[in-house]
């Protein structure tokens, strides 16, 4: 039976989360197998250019609400618009990337449409009557196959789990302006300010990640300023360690990650934590420096394509997952590694 699919294009002020386009690749493979059509929903302000992009990435048509009140992420308002479009378009499946925003939106949509959400899915199969989705649980220590009996099925897709389609500049389609009628009963929050983050590659989208652990504070040749307390001196040392990691990350266009131990000790903000109570990542290349590999950390990065470990302790569990290991001091290994990779990538 042919399928109608609605994809939600998640973005911040017009900057699209790359995995939004991955959803269109998934939609294309489903409609390619079973027949059907795909529409994309774009909600925001001055986001008309995204409509064209969505068509190029594979949408057959686009629902667009381009309004001042949608300039910032306000979930109550966006959920109401999503509900209106879903009731009108009647999709069998709603696809979203998994992001901080869609975790709220998808949940609200499930309530509004009285259905279920399959969250952070890494694999899909619709050969049978129902769609079956695979999602990691316990930070990927286990995998669950899940189905949803209600319609539309809402699925959020883990970033980088599905290939991003090639945009086709020749593709066109209809852009339907949504005549959004907000429901006055909803208390809608007001966004007063955006505190932008220091620029850098986000962990969940990164193709390459360089991470640091406790070992970042273990450079014996460093002399911290004398007026620091013991804890402060440790953090001061770790910052120098993470400086080396950032330099390597910059050369590789990589995101900077960290173990929980490093975050809990105050070496680096929580944003960077990889693992069971941080972010679960699966880059093409993961370079772990001074990370021994607690089970919670390994769970968060074990599906990375190529893992490289640099650690002083030859018995560190991280080496069990590593394709390449260097037993040595990260302070001696990382700087020449950075230089060597810089030369190779420049030539």
């Amino acid at each position: 039976m042919t399928k109608k699919i609605l994809t939600y294009v998640d973005h911040h002020q017009g900057k699209v989360q790359p995995s939004s386009w991955e959803a269109l690749g998934v939609a294309a493979s489903i409609t390619g197998d079973l027949g059907g059509e795909t529409a994309s929903l774009i909600l925001g302000k001055e986001v008309e250019s995204l409509a064209e992009e969505a068509l190029q990435y594979g949408a057959d048509q686009v629902f667009l609400a381009d309004e001042g009140q949608m300039a910032e992420f306000r979930p109550e308002l966006l959920a109401a618009a999503l509900k209106q479009v879903a009731l009108d378009y009647q999709p069998d499946l709603i696809l979203m990337p998994t992001t901080s925003r869609t975790r709220v939106l998808a949940g609200m949509a499930a309530v509004d449409l009285n259905t279920g959400v399959l969250v952070d899915v890494i694999d899909l199969d619709w050969t049978g009557e129902k769609i079956t989705a695979v999602r990691p649980i316990y930070a990927g220590k286990l995998l669950a196959s899940v189905t949803c009996d209600a319609s539309p099925v809402i699925i959020t897709l883990r970033g980088r789990a599905f290939a991003k389609p090639e945009p086709d500049p020749a593709r066109t389609g209809e852009v339907v302006q949504v005549d959004f009628q907000p429901n006055e009963d909803i208390p809608v929050s007001e966004v007063l300010e955006i505190k932008a983050k220091e620029t850098g590659v986000s962990l969940t989208d990164a193709a390459v990640i360089v991470s640091g652990g406790r070992g970042t504070a273990n450079n014996p040749s460093l002399d911290p300023p004398a007026d620091l307390s013991e804890d402060e001196a440790e953090v001061w040392k770790a910052r120098q360690g993470f400086q080396l990691i950032s330099e390597l990350a910059e050369v590789l266009g990589a995101a900077v990650g960290a173990s929980r131990a490093a975050v809990d000790a105050g070496y680096i903000p929580y944003d960077h934590q990889v693992g069971q109570t941080g972010k679960v990542v699966a880059p093409d290349l993961y370079i772990a420096c001074g990370i021994s590999g607690a089970i919670q950390h390994l769970a968060g990065m074990r599906t990375s394509k190529v893992i490289v470990a640099v650690n002083k302790d030859p018995d560190a569990p991280i080496f069990n997952l590593a394709r390449f290991g260097v037993v040595g001091d990260m302070f001696e290994i990382v700087p020449p590694l950075t230089e060597s990779l810089r030369e190779k990538l420049e030539s």
Partner: protein, 259 residues
């Protein structure tokens, strides 16, 4: 301020998980409060310290599932409720949020419902949005700071995290909030707290107590399995000097064609 903090019991994050006879097993690992919920309890206790009121821990689970509630009480929660019903064994997110929303209404008068950002077992993070929607309250997820919290004036300002930066949001009471690890270290339960928690009496509510029918879950777990073993041959890079090791490693990385 009346605050309900939702807590869940999960296997210790250090547990190596496995599947035995189709069932999830955590071996002999202990059961703990969902680590993310500790930040939620911490936030609730700090708000109470600043504004007065009470903190009620709300759990959902089978009858013996007391670890999370006990921990919240030991940290300083004033009271607790456990929702437990044999018919909730297969509850999906929507059913769980309907039950929690009903409990929030039965407790009555709450200004805030606070969650951890998600649970470390099923990891959906759906409940804060869903419970808020069911109650018709604003949903403020991934909050790291409460900048303003005055229920009398219905002034609520928080900082919430997104991938690209943080939003400063002005909202209103009552609201549903989820709290991230950035909120700040949760306190350890005191000795007195642990003793108090071990003797605490709190009600267990069934679906009937909530005036609810058995929910029909729409999401079904068909199968749980262990991920396929990865065949990894580890190559330890040798060399006389650090420079030599680094040079060889760089060559090996380039050969993998991942850059």
């Amino acid at each position: 301020m009346k605050i309900i903090v939702c807590v869940k019991q999960v296997p210790d994050t250090a547990a190596a998980m496995s599947v035995e006879d189709g069932k999830i097993s955590w071996g002999d690992a202990s059961l703990i409060i969902n680590p993310w919920d500790e930040f939620a309890v911490e936030a609730a206790l700090n708000l109470k310290a600043d504004h007065g009121g009470e903190v009620i821990a709300l759990g959902l689970g089978s009858e013996g599932e007391t670890e999370a509630i006990k921990h919240a009480l030991a940290m300083g929660a004033d009271d607790a409720v456990l929702i437990s019903d044999p018919d909730l064994g297969t509850a999906d997110n929507l059913a769980a949020s309907q039950v929690l929303a009903a409990a929030v209404e039965k407790i009555a008068g709450a200004d805030l419902v606070i969650f951890g950002q998600q649970s470390v077992d099923s990891e959906t993070g759906m409940l804060p949005g869903q419970v808020a929607r069911l109650l018709g309250w604003p949903s403020l997820t991934l909050v790291s700071k409460f900048l303003e919290a005055n229920p009398e004036e219905s002034e609520l300002q928080v900082e919430r995290a997104m991938e690209e930066g943080n939003q400063i949001i002005k909202s209103q009471f009552p609201a549903v909030v989820s709290v991230t690890k950035d909120y700040g270290e949760p306190r350890y339960p005191s000795f007195m707290g642990i003793r108090k928690a071990s003797q605490a009496q709190y009600p267990t509510w069934s679906l009937e107590d909530l005036g609810m029918e058995s929910p029909t879950p729409v999401v079904t777990w068909v199968e749980v399995k262990e991920p396929p073993e990865r065949e990894i041959v580890t190559e330890i890079i040798g060399g006389e000097t650090a420079e030599e090791k680094a040079q060889t490693l760089a060559e090996k990385i380039m050969e993998e064609k991942v850059l």
